[in-house]
Amino acid sequence: MVEESETGRECASHRTSDAAMTASEVDLWFGREVLPLEAALMQFLQHNWRNKSDIYDFRQEVYVRVYEAALKKIPDRPKQFVFATARNLLIDRVRQEHVIPIEAAADLEALEIAADTPGPDRIAMGREDLRRLQAALDRLPLRAREAVVLGRIEGLSRREIAARMGIGEGTVAQYLARGICELVDILYGEPPNVRRQP
């Protein structure tokens, strides 16, 4: 195997290997290094783009570009890489659309500021996470919240939740799927004014 020659320089953060990463390695790296930057990334995107309905698509596009790059080689400096990718994306879009939605002068400075903001994982876990989780649960519609609490905290299956709540399994599935989406958004620190209406 070609990778064999690389074994001498194993060190996750300083890896210079050109060997392709496996998807699960990248998944781990992505969860550990990139996702904690989401709050800062969303803030950056929001700050630099007027049309808020594009934000989720941008986030997705940034993640895809970062992930694809990581499949070839894990970036040495994840934070810089993520924000450089976001910035390039915005610039591409400006060129494509022949509009200038970027706030004057906000571009570079915002990038610098955002890149220095600690991600949620850099802040102590625990109390803060608990608070966020509760806030996220509270934001769900009553029935959806009940389903999520029964499923997540009590460990019931979809069928058991349906029986407990006296509703169909299909409805429970919808509640749970929505709950998963929203809880993760909030845990990764979606900026308040980009949130969807309940």
Partner: protein, 321 residues
């Protein structure tokens, strides 16, 4: 990747990824579902990224739930409109039992799956020195890091020898219950309708997964049996507990065990199933030690010692008077 230009609504893809996660955690999940998910993930990096993001985040919420009850006073009292949590002897939650653990299995970040087949046995040693021994037909997932040690027993039975770490509790989640080690050796066995936790050494806390602060501190010799309706704790002698662990050396020990129970126990280890056809003989008792995979030897005892008739119809071995 090529379809990226066509399908670009990120929120739709997030919703789709959330549906997959919901199905895997809360619905029935089999090999065909896993194949379908793998196919979907392969279709596009867009899919994979959305899935990895939601899955990673969703796992974080699980960790929070696991921490809740033992951090007393953390949650504001007003939040306790989660009254559904309190006072419920937890129903047995079947959490995403995986049909097939193949090479295709999508490994969630930081998590590993360990599984044994019928008749199999495996010992796993982790970096912290903790050991888990899996009995027959068992599936468990482990997330072992310097910040978290959680094991989900999805199916079967396992014996845990835990290196205690006051800063990083070792948590076992099974059937909607939770065992938190306080330095210890214990056995967890999950059956269709019940969960058994037997403590051999040290101390553990046993409670409902996530929910409310009701939990019990178990002492060595405590044997907990939890069903959907009740939780009972009985005291067991060292000998009785040791007999529960003989599978670790590949044998089962029967002592005045009713035939029906002995057959049920042996069936766990073998694909060739035994059936007791007559309720009258199912109460006959047997004693002795037998290798877990020795169906033939068991049949011989049943025939020669108990004087019963045995018919082998290919799939099943039927025991009659």
């Amino acid at each position: 990747m090529s379809e990226r230009a066509i399908v670009t609504n990120a929120r739709d893809i997030d919703a789709r990824a959330a549906e997959w996660i919901e199905r895997r955690y809360f619905g029935e999940w089999n090999a065909a579902d896993q194949t379908a998910l793998d196919t979907w993930l392969e279709e596009s990096v867009v899919h994979r990224v959305a899935f990895v993001r939601l899955e990673t985040g969703w796992r974080r919420t699980e960790r929070l739930a696991a921490l809740r009850p033992f951090k007393s006073g953390r949650a504001a009292p007003s939040r306790r409109n989660w009254s559904i949590l309190t006072g419920i002897a937890a129903a047995l939650g079947i959490v995403a039992i995986l049909g097939v653990i193949g090479s295709n299995y999508f490994v969630r970040p930081g998590e590993r799956v360990y599984a044994t087949k019928v008749g199999g046995r495996e010992k796993v040693t982790f970096a912290d020195g903790s050991q888990i021994e899996l009995n027959t037909d068992t599936v468990l997932r482990a997330r072992m890091t310097t910040k978290e040690r959680t094991v989900w027993l999805d199916k079967g039975e396992a014996y845990f020898q835990v290196k205690h770490d006051v800063h990083n509790p070792f948590i076992v989640v099974a059937s909607g219950h939770r065992v938190i080690d306080l330095g210890t050796k214990f056995l967890v066995r999950r059956d269709d309708n019940s969960l058994e936790v037997a403590l051999l050494e040290g101390r553990v806390r046993f409670g409902v997964a996530g929910g409310h602060p009701q939990s019990s501190l178990l002492k060595p010799g405590d044997d907990v049996l939890a069903t959907a309706e009740s939780i009972s704790v009985t005291r067991k002698s060292t000998q009785q507990l040791t007999n529960k662990l003989t599978w670790r050396r590949g044998v089962v020990v029967f002592k005045d065990t009713p035939l029906a129970d002995a057959v049920r126990e042996l069936d766990r280890y073998n694909n060739q199933k035994l059936v007791v056809a007559d309720p009258a003989i199912s109460r006959r008792t047997i004693s002795g030690t037998i290798p877990t995979n020795d169906v033939t030897g068991f049949i011989r005892v049943v025939r020669d010692v108990l004087g019963l008739h045995v018919m082998n119809d290919g799939n099943e071995v039927v025991i009659t008077r």
